[in-house]
């Protein structure tokens, strides 16, 4: 008895050690197979060896072989454990998942108080998930939030990445948004097709069952179909037109399970103006208006000469320049405009030169008045 007690007392620590080295499914031990690797699936975190995973899940999803666990596992999600304690592993996973959904930053909130309130709500969700409190409800709420705010989430994700690699992140964001849009479109198309075929079926049924004018029934059905599809199109267009920034999911959402107060209204950056190489300046002709063609022998030679035209020389450019030269300074009166101004730096230059005269040379390199 005492022996047994002794044995049982010593057993847990030993078994724990053995557990670590023995697959709970196939019971093969590291002793026999030194290369054995253990994998876990974040679905239930039950440990099993690599060969077991291969054996059981290569054919597709299957139930967890551990007694009492009925979760369906996929091979792709099996991975090596990072932390020794499986609880820590699970908590880290959950925190990562929650953080990827609730990824707002302090800058998104008006006050620090708002941000802290938000963080508290997020922590509540995390806590519930970790400790299995209201898991169903919390998951549902989180998924609803994720679905409603996916654009915002994607953007925040890419913003975070942007700090590291801005260009790549932007591309990714674009890709992600495009993907979402495409998925939306595909879903809509699918729906439409479904409805169309339903309607057709309805018409055929009607034709088969009722005794009316076949043509009028068909027409009516067609009209209803058209009405529906056009309404859909309008709704779809509206949805598409809505810019990424104004997609209505800005404020944490009254409809969603979570309500975050004090979120800043996000302002879309103003669209970039087209580049103006002249920096806002525009040439304006004040004293002449140019013709398209000037009948002048001097020019007609140049017009026909391939030596000029081959290089892309445009005679009209010469005309514009000549006319501009003819009047550049036409209304500039030097006597009036220059009289007020100091003669550059002339007087001071003259004095420095005069000062230099008496004494030594000022500078061997710059020996004149400038």
């Amino acid at each position: 008895m005492s022996r047994a007690a002794q044995r049982s007392g010593a057993a847990p620590s030993k078994r724990a050690q053995e557990d670590g080295d023995m697959c709970p499914v196939c019971k093969s031990a590291r002793y026999l197979n030194p290369d054995m690797r253990f994998l876990v699936n974040p679905e239930c975190y039950h440990k099993m060896c690599e060969s077991c995973v291969d054996r059981r899940f290569s054919q597709g999803p299957a139930a967890c072989p551990i007694a009492g666990c009925k979760r369906t596992l996929r091979k792709a999600r099996f991975r090596t454990q990072t932390f020794e304690d499986i609880k820590v592993e699970r908590e880290v996973d959950i925190r990562r998942e929650v953080a990827s959904v609730f990824n707002r930053e302090e800058d998104d909130f008006e006050t620090l108080q708002n941000y802290n309130d938000y963080l508290e709500q997020v922590e509540n969700v995390t806590w519930n998930l970790i400790n299995d409190i209201d898991v169903e409800d919390t998951r549902r709420k989180m998924d609803a939030y994720k679905e409603e705010n996916r654009r915002q989430i994607t953007r925040n994700q890419s913003n975070a990445a942007q700090e590291a690699i801005s260009r790549k992140a932007r591309e990714e964001e674009d890709h992600e948004l495009t993907r979402l849009r495409r998925a939306d479109a595909r879903r809509e198309d699918e729906l439409e097709r479904q409805e169309k075929s339903d309607a057709r079926k309805g018409i055929i049924n009607k034709l088969a069952t009722t005794k009316g004018d076949a043509a009028s029934i068909a027409r009516e059905g067609r009209r209803a179909e058209l009405k529906k599809s056009s309404a859909q199109r309008v709704a779809l267009d509206k949805k598409r037109d809505g810019d990424v920034f104004s997609s209505g999911t800005e404020n944490g959402d009254a409809s969603s399970a979570f309500l975050f107060k004090g979120l800043k209204k996000r302002v879309a950056p103003p669209p970039e103006k087209p580049y103006d190489p002249y920096g806002g300046w525009s040439a304006e002709k004040e004293y002449f208006s140019q013709q398209d063609f000037y009948d002048w022998d001097y020019l007609s030679n140049a017009r026909t000469d391939p030596r000029y035209s081959a290089g892309g020389y445009d005679i009209n450019d010469y005309c514009a320049r000549a006319l501009c030269d003819a009047f550049s300074g036409f209304g500039v009166f030097i006597q009036d405009e220059v009289s007020g101004r100091d003669l550059g730096s002339t007087p001071s230059m003259a004095t420095t030169a005069a000062a230099a005269v008496g004494g030594e040379r000022v500078d061997a390199k710059m020996d004149d008045v400038f």
Binding site: D325, G329, V338, S339, K365
Partner: protein, 415 residues
């Protein structure tokens, strides 16, 4: 923001740095002259003192006395004499350009460089001949007229490449590194082109002028030949001939008296070519000017004042460009006599100039060399410097040949 033709000109360096009122121009020349005079006198005095010093030394040694030759105060040029010298060299620059068959804008640019240079420098300081040659060569480069310096020097007797290049940096400095000279030549072409279009009745009329192209043509055909003359009626062909003749005459004025006067400093290129045209054919020029303003125009309105002002400015410029009326009245013999007299006068000034040159700036080639990095005594580097350089160069070459290139400088050590 609008950029009109006038604004384009206002942004040019010719307007910003090289446009003056007549008073400013005169005072500038006076200042330059007085500065140069002081400089020459001081330099001569210094030279004389050092010579006296050496003479007293030698006197003490030899016990003989030699008379002091250099005791006279140098007789410096006046502003007018300086002007005459510069004018003379502008004329010679034009001759040189014509002989070497430079395009007219090269000649004009070179002459303007010369004039700009002597606004802030005196012929007493820098000899006009070498400056003129170098300025013309510089103008070739600026105006994109390819010419080898050696060729250029070879075509001018008694000039070497070094002599041409020596004052070059000096000139660029004096030009304040503003090489752009706005000439009236292309403007004249543009004006001629537009006047031809008016004569053909095909001109694009300005929006605020309440006339049609045909009306303009009609008016132009009926223009009198002389100012104040009776209205005539000529054909379009005759009108075109008249325009061509006027433009040719105006171009000659622009090539000669425009670049030889202060016109570039006092007026804008647009006003200069209009003035030259006014000299060639006053009626046409005034007609063209008025075509730029609304037909009926009140002298009290801003536009009217602007028109009057422009006409007045162009007339003032024309006075500057016009040949001396007193000279024109003289007969050919008298003109020749006058010309000879002027030549003699310039020669006399030259002789005077020879005695009042700044002794510090006599040899420009040597001065230029002294500024260079390898300046040494009589063109030879000091032996130690030369040796050090050679070693350095060899080391650098060796290092550069190595596979990974020269060694990187150590931290905190100068490269």
């Amino acid at each position: 923001m609008r950029l009109t033709e006038d604004e384009i000109y206002r942004s040019s360096t010719q307007f910003r740095l090289w446009s003056f009122t007549p008073e400013a121009l005169a005072s500038l020349r006076a200042t330059t002259n007085s500065t140069a005079t002081q400089r020459v006198k001081a330099a001569v005095k210094r030279l004389r003192e050092s010579r006296n010093q050496s003479e007293t030394n030698s006197e003490a040694e030899n016990g003989t006395s030699t008379p002091v030759i250099f005791n006279r105060e140098p007789d410096c040029l006046t502003v007018e004499e300086e002007m005459k010298v510069v004018e003379a060299f502008c004329g010679r620059a034009i001759v040189l350009g014509n002989v070497l068959e430079f395009p007219s804008n090269v000649i004009a640019t070179g002459v303007q460089y010369l004039r700009r240079f002597y606004l802030f420098n005196s012929p007493m300081t820098y000899e006009p001949k070498s400056i003129m040659l170098s300025a013309m060569f510089l103008a070739n480069k600026i105006e994109d007229n390819k010419m080898e310096c050696a060729d250029y020097a070879a075509r001018i007797t008694g000039t070497t490449k070094e002599q041409v290049l020596a004052p070059e940096f000096l000139i660029t400095q004096a030009l304040r590194f503003t090489f752009d000279v706005r000439h009236p030549f292309r403007g004249l072409q543009g004006g001629h082109m537009e006047m031809l279009a008016i004569a053909q009745g095909k001109a694009a009329v300005l929006p605020y002028v309440e006339k049609t192209a045909a009306e303009f043509q009609q008016e132009m055909l009926e223009l009198p030949t002389q100012p104040g003359g009776a209205a005539t009626k000529i054909t379009q062909r005759e009108l075109e001939k008249r325009l061509n003749a006027a433009t040719d005459k105006a171009r000659d004025t622009l090539k000669s008296s425009a670049i030889q006067s202060d016109a570039y400093f006092l007026y804008t290129p647009s006003q200069i070519w209009l003035a030259a045209y006014l000299l060639a054919d006053e009626v046409l020029a005034l007609f063209y000017l008025s075509s730029k303003f609304p037909g009926t125009i009140d002298a009290e309105t801003p536009t009217g004042i602007a028109k009057l002002k422009i006409v007045a400015t162009v007339r003032a410029c024309a006075v500057l460009l016009a040949p001396d009326p007193a000279l024109q009245k003289l007969s050919a013999e008298e003109k020749e006599a006058k010309r000879l007299e002027e030549i003699n006068e310039v020669k006399a000034i030259h002789v005077k100039l020879r005695h009042c040159r700044d002794p510090d700036k006599m040899d420009l080639v040597k001065l230029n060399k002294a500024q260079k990095r390898d300046a040494g005594v009589e063109g030879k580097l000091e032996e130690s410097v030369a040796k050090r350089r050679k070693l350095e160069r060899e080391k650098n070459e060796k290092e550069a040949d190595e596979f990974w290139g020269p060694e990187l400088p150590k931290n905190g050590k100068k490269a």
